[in-house]
């Protein structure tokens, strides 16, 4: 099994398309960080205009944590695309390239192949998130330095810098769980397709489609919304609740896990019986 995982990791990390994800994250994060460095003061002044009558803000509001929080908000739109770019290609790419004919005619179990490809895709997703964290932290330290975090949701909270590391770690951890759900869905579509475009576009369309429909037709979809995993993609924000307890996110984590297992077992069941015709 370890041998298979190694082979799959080798294939992923020697493929040029893999680095599109890392490149895109580098460009997006760098643009955000530099943009905030240049225009951040004006932006924050505008946001805090209504509050400045009632509060006196002291210290650096534009700091590495503040920018990190903005990045967390922004990137969960882009990261699913970058995840699907690789995981959607894991099985469909082999079908499209005709390489199933040379690997599945060897003494390799289809179940083991499915598991090892999934794990390799999962490692890629993890690497992408780690890269995002490191780059965000690096730019944050170099350009801004530490400070307290101002969180504005339905209320305004200020979280001290000594209370932030674990919140970012768990938020990213939850984000990684959500991206695993996206990766597994994309992987499932990949098993059902003989062309990488379908699973990649399909994943994006499903996530964006459900999110848009959930927003626009919220009242219409209200009974089913709690069952969509997309409903909980933004739940990482709960880790920045000043009165955070695990029970706040337990249900959301459970939904993600159920989707991950469901998508994975559908993939396994489907691919075991799939006729390789390409």
């Amino acid at each position: 099994m370890w041998k298979l995982i190694n082979i799959e990791l080798y294939k992923i990390f020697t493929k040029p398309r893999t680095y599109i994800g890392f490149g895109a994250i580098f460009v997006i994060i760098t643009a955000i960080e530099i943009g905030i460095k240049i225009k951040g003061d004006d932006m924050f002044a505008m946001i805090l205009e209504n509050l400045s009558d009632k509060f006196i803000f002291e210290g650096k509001l534009i700091n590495m944590y503040g920018v990190g929080y903005v990045i967390l908000n922004t990137l969960w739109i882009h990261v699913p695309i970058l995840v699907a770019l690789v995981t959607g290609d894991l099985l469909a790419g082999e079908a499209n390239g005709g390489t199933f004919r040379i690997i599945l005619t060897r003494p390799v179990s289809r179940v083991k192949l499915i598991i090892s490809k999934f794990l390799a895709g999962w490692v890629y997703t993890l690497m992408l998130i780690i890269f995002m964290i490191l780059l965000s932290a690096l730019w944050g330290v170099v350009l801004f330095g530490p400070g307290d975090l101002l969180v504005m949701t339905t209320k305004v909270s200020i979280i001290g810098s000594d209370d932030l590391i674990w919140r970012f770690a768990t938020a990213y951890g939850y984000g990684f769980l959500c991206m695993t759900t996206v990766a597994t869905m994309s992987y499932m579509l990949s098993a059902m397709s003989d062309n990488s475009i379908g699973p990649i576009i399909g994943t994006i369309a499903l996530i964006i489609g459900i999110t848009v429909v959930s927003t626009v037709g919220a009242s219409l979809l209200e009974p089913v919304l709690p069952y969509f995993f997309t409903t909980y993609l933004q739940s990482w924000q709960k880790f920045f609740n000043t009165e955070f307890t695990f029970s706040l996110v337990a249900h959301d984590i459970l939904i993600q896990l159920i989707y991950i297992f469901a998508f994975f077992f559908i993939t396994l069941f489907y691919f075991r019986k799939k006729d390789i015709l390409t």
Binding site: L4, R101, P107
Partner: protein, 306 residues
């Protein structure tokens, strides 16, 4: 002796379409076994079922005496295959491709073995070149190299000369013969080209519309008793006038203004030729229509022998 491949009543249906229909055949150790049929006859579907890429609708496949459905892992470790066009990870060099495939087959001394098979197919100097820079002929040879990597007892080649120029086709045929003679590997080779099978195979099956039409020794089929021979003459009417009442009357098949077709044995060719010359028929050429070609065309025109 136990058959290396034994297929029993194999069928594959896609809805109402019968891609393979109740096919049975046997490949014995040491055979170069031709799998002949026109395009769309079910050759590739059968081969894919043999390699567990496609699940049969019904029937059984035994490789080396073991049921493929039960002992897939063990049996496939003794089989090498090249199916249709040779596809690889194009962004990787030839050597890396073979490394991946060798690891999947748990090949011992992999680096040495890769050198060995690349040398055998003449690609050692290009071992570090990316596969995307390879011509179709080179990819085809790399395809054979990957099939040989784990020293299989049986190699299955599905249309290995497709798309190659005549020189490339000859190289592949020569390679197949070498593998059989020097490495004692049993080979199944599918093709829709009769000439190719005739050149290299010792036994064969002809299939059409998913059904086996005939299976047997290639030599016997080519040199069977009945062969059609075309005589190119000055005027076929003269021939038609002289044969009534002779033994050639029954051998006569058909004629055109300058050609006459007889169905005769090999030994009868000089006798008939002498007879025609004696009757002052001008013969410009004698063209045997090879029985296998005739057989193939005849069989694949909806005629079922079995």
């Amino acid at each position: 002796m136990e058959a290396y491949i034994e297929i029993k009543n194999l069928s594959k249906h896609y809805g109402d379409i019968k891609a393979v229909d109740d096919l049975s055949m046997q490949v014995m150790p040491g055979d170069i076994y031709g799998f002949l049929g026109p395009n769309g006859s079910g050759k590739s579907t059968t081969i894919r079922m043999l390699l567990s890429l496609i699940r049969p609708t019904s029937g059984q496949i035994f490789l080396f005496g073991k049921d493929l459905a039960v002992d897939r892992y063990q049996t496939l470790s003794r089989v090498g295959a090249l199916i249709e066009k040779p596809d690889f990870y194009n962004y990787l060099p030839a050597r890396k491709n073979l490394e991946i495939l060798g690891k999947l087959s748990s090949v011992q001394n992999l680096k040495f073995r890769i050198d060995e098979v690349l040398d055998l197919v003449g690609l050692l100097p290009r071992a570090h070149s990316s596969v995307r820079t390879f011509s179709l002929g080179m990819k085809q040879r790399l395809g054979i190299a990957q099939a040989l990597l784990h020293k299989p007892d049986l190699i299955i080649l599905d249309e290995p000369t497709n798309g190659l120029d005549p020189q490339g086709q000859k190289e592949i045929r020569d390679l197949v013969k070498t593998l059989s003679q020097e490495n004692n590997i049993t080979i199944v080779i599918s093709s829709h080209v009769l000439f190719e099978i005739e050149q290299i195979a010792n036994r064969m099956v002809i299939i059409n519309k998913g059904k086996a039409l005939v299976e047997g020794n290639v030599h016997d089929l080519i040199n069977g008793d009945d062969r059609q021979v075309t005589y190119v003459v000055d005027n076929s009417e003269n021939v038609r006038h002289i044969i009534p009442g002779t033994i050639w009357e029954k051998r006569f098949q058909k004629s055109s203004p300058d050609r006459v077709w007889f169905k005769i044995t090999k030994d009868e060719i000089p006798v008939l030729t002498a007879f025609l010359i004696e009757k002052e028929i001008k013969i410009f050429a004698i063209e045997p229509v090879r029985s296998l070609e005739d057989f193939f065309l005849h069989l694949t025109e909806n005629v079922e022998i079995n």
